[in-house]
């Protein structure tokens, strides 16, 4: 209404934004990232394998003579509840995600096989996102996690990973580097905190 002064208390949002505006320094320039300064000439496959092992995981090659499902089944002979998002899982899958009422029912999942589109050599991390995750809690709630990754999808540093991810619409995504772990009791490393207790990357 023109001519009538309305006295309104500033909301916290307005308050914070106006204080940030008033108290900030003059605009400083954003630095430019030159990724070449980080190049260390390391062999990608070798470095990736080394780093996955450093963080407590395993790296194996996919056997050409058998399916990934029989290869993984041999790795975990005692597993009862298995699930794979890969095509042709057939009998390997002992649970049907469609039949779940809530993700909590995955509590007893023993082995999960997922595919990753991206691995990072410098830290052994593999990327999983909604595209590969029918249910978000899957890679965390499973006891054992197996991730299939194509060798050519390994990049040297995170700097090369983000431009690839920028092109994809990730509602949720996670870099996973090794099995879950903690060192909260006297700095002794214990593998298997809340998430997966083992992590195997199968390279193909």
């Amino acid at each position: 209404m023109i001519g009538i002064k309305t006295e309104k208390k500033m909301t916290s949002r307005e308050n914070i934004l106006s204080r940030a505006k008033a108290n900030k320094p003059d605009l400083l320039e954003l630095p430019v990232i030159n990724v070449e300064v980080f190049a260390d000439g390391k062999d990608l496959l070798e470095e990736f394998t080394k780093k996955v092992e450093v963080v407590g995981g395993n790296v194996v090659e996919q056997n050409v003579s058998e399916t990934i499902f029989s290869q993984v089944s041999k790795m975990y002979p005692d597993a009862k509840v298995n699930y794979a998002t890969l095509e042709g899982a057939g009998d390997f899958n002992t649970v049907s995600l469609e039949a779940l009422k809530k993700p909590h029912e995955l509590e007893n999942l023993d082995v999960l096989i997922l595919e990753s589109i991206l691995g990072v050599a410098e830290n052994g991390a593999v990327w999983l996102s909604d595209g590969q995750l029918p249910i978000r809690v899957l890679p965390f709630i499973t006891n054992h996690l197996v991730i299939v990754l194509k060798k050519e999808n390994i990049v040297p540093f995170l700097h090369q990973a983000y431009p690839i991810l920028a092109k994809k619409d990730n509602d949720f995504g996670v870099f996973i580097s090794g099995p879950s772990k903690t060192a909260d009791i006297e700095q002794s490393l214990v593998i298997g905190a809340h998430g997966a207790m083992t992590l195997t990357v199968v390279l193909k």
């Binding site: 605009l27 980080f38 509590e107 509602d171 949720f172 809340h194």
Partner: protein, 455 residues
């Protein structure tokens, strides 16, 4: 209580102090090994510094951009001017969902706001799910370190605590067994949770997403199972673009524990269909710190804890001696900005050796800021009489070379000739717990002059 007084309590158990000191130095050493293997590490630190400095210089813009994108993603955004408002907002969201059981992953901000007691007062059960945080929660203590919350506890103490609260068997402090039992105990909590609270490591303006880093997977177990996820962040967590995560995720874990990256770096953007995601953006004194040119760089902090692990004072005084949410060197430059009087002794809990600034992944000039706070504090808060008098005396001695030489002569003679009972007597705090060196016969000045003569 002053820091030095609290530290002297921690120091009554000498064996434990030595153990604490070594445990943290071990982490510092792991950090060194890890960062020395990174080509261009100093460039990476400079980038971290530059990106944070730029972001703060345009903070209102990036906060607005982040909010707009988060809302587009279907996330509900809330703003809290202070701790009380933050707690009220979180409480009201939980109330709306009739949430009684809440799981929370590590968030120093919710510690700062004292969220747990606020929610507990209304009968809610709030469980800290990070193992270290669960340990201190059971012990009814605050975390003593921001990355290693229970670093002050021995495995035997954890053993006893778990026996009492979780009904575990005595195990002589076996970390493997204790961690396994904690996993079972917390699994139950994740299964039952009505809501999950997490912190935020980085909030990305251009996507409206945020990243949460854990090694245990506790943030994800909570956030993906519960129907409501509330993420709490300080305004300084913003970064302009997702690609800058490449810089910060490379810096964070290496500086914290020497790992090349945390086990889980989870990028949240949209809620699970049918679930709710909330972000609470909190000021609580940060815009005020932003107004102080000498101290605003303290807002660059990415909470790695490297400055604590390297600090000779922190390692020997323990995190609790700081009586602040964020202990150690970084806490000592943040806390005086919040309450100068309460935290007036913290900037003095430093040797000003500068090791904190050297290891800081975003190049905060921590030791210079500690020095600058000292200048302000000595002017604005009353100082102990003895300190004031001795500083005055020292000032006089140092201002006149002839007087300095006379005092030096007496001091050197005294150190050579007086009995230990006098040298290590109570007024001489430098003689506490250590033998002073034998006084040399000549001063440096004498030695230098004699050397010229002999040439």
């Amino acid at each position: 209580m002053s820091h030095s007084k609290a530290a002297s309590i921690f120091n009554t158990d000498e064996k434990k102090v030595n153990w604490h000191d070594k445990a943290l130095w071990f982490v510092r050493h792991k950090r060194d090994k890890s960062v020395h293997a990174v080509e261009g590490w100093e460039n990476l630190r400079s980038l971290g510094h530059g990106i944070k400095a730029h972001t703060l210089s345009n903070l209102d813009h990036y906060l607005t951009e982040f909010e707009a994108n988060a809302i587009k993603n279907g996330v509900q955004v809330h703003w809290a001017a202070d701790a009380e408002e933050h707690n009220k907002i979180v409480h009201s969201i939980l109330k709306k969902h009739n949430a009684k059981k809440i799981v929370k992953s590590k968030s120093m901000l919710t510690e700062e706001c004292h969220l747990n007691p606020y929610l507990e007062a209304d009968g809610m059960e709030i469980i800290d799910t990070d193992l270290g945080e669960r340990i201190v929660q059971l012990a009814k203590e605050p975390p003593s370190h921001i990355v290693l919350p229970a670093i002050h506890k021995t495995k035997e103490e954890v053993d006893e605590l778990f026996q009492e609260h979780l009904g575990t068997k005595p195990c002589g402090g076996d970390p493997q067994y204790l961690t396994g039992e904690a996993r079972k105990h917390l699994r139950e909590k994740f299964m039952e949770a009505d809501a999950a609270i997490t912190g935020v490591n980085f909030a990305i303006a251009d996507t409206g997403g945020f990243v949460v880093c854990t090694n245990e997977g506790n943030a994800d177990m909570g956030a993906h199972l519960a129907p409501v996820h509330i993420a709490c962040m300080g305004i300084e967590k913003i970064i302009p673009k997702q690609e800058y995560l490449g810089v910060f995720l490379r810096l964070l874990a290496r500086s914290a524990t020497g790992q090349p990256i945390t086990t889980y770096s989870s990028h949240f953007k949209k809620p699970i269909e049918g679930n709710e995601m909330h972000i609470v953006i909190v000021d609580n004194g940060r815009t005020e710190q932003l107004s102080r040119p000498d101290f605003r760089a303290s807002l660059h902090c990415i909470r790695c804890g490297a400055c604590m692990n390297t600090c000779p004072i922190y390692r020997r005084s323990g995190g609790h001696s700081y009586d602040a949410t964020i202990p150690g060197p970084i806490g000592s430059i943040l806390s005086p900005g919040k309450d100068l009087k309460k935290h007036s002794t913290l900037p003095f809990a430093s040797t000003l050796c500068g090791s904190c600034s050297d290891v800081c992944p975003v190049k905060i000039d921590i030791h210079s800021q500690l020095y600058k706070w000292r200048q302000i504090i000595t002017k604005e808060t009353p100082q102990p009489l003895v300190k004031k008098a001795s500083m005055k005396m020292m000032g006089k001695v140092f201002s006149k070379p002839s007087q300095f030489e006379r005092v030096g002569k007496v001091a050197r003679w005294s150190l050579r000739n007086l009995p230990k009972s006098v040298i290590n007597s109570k007024p001489n705090v430098w003689g506490k717990e250590r033998d002073l060196p034998l006084g040399p016969k000549e001063s440096f000045d004498d030695w230098y002059k004699n050397r010229e003569k002999n040439d």
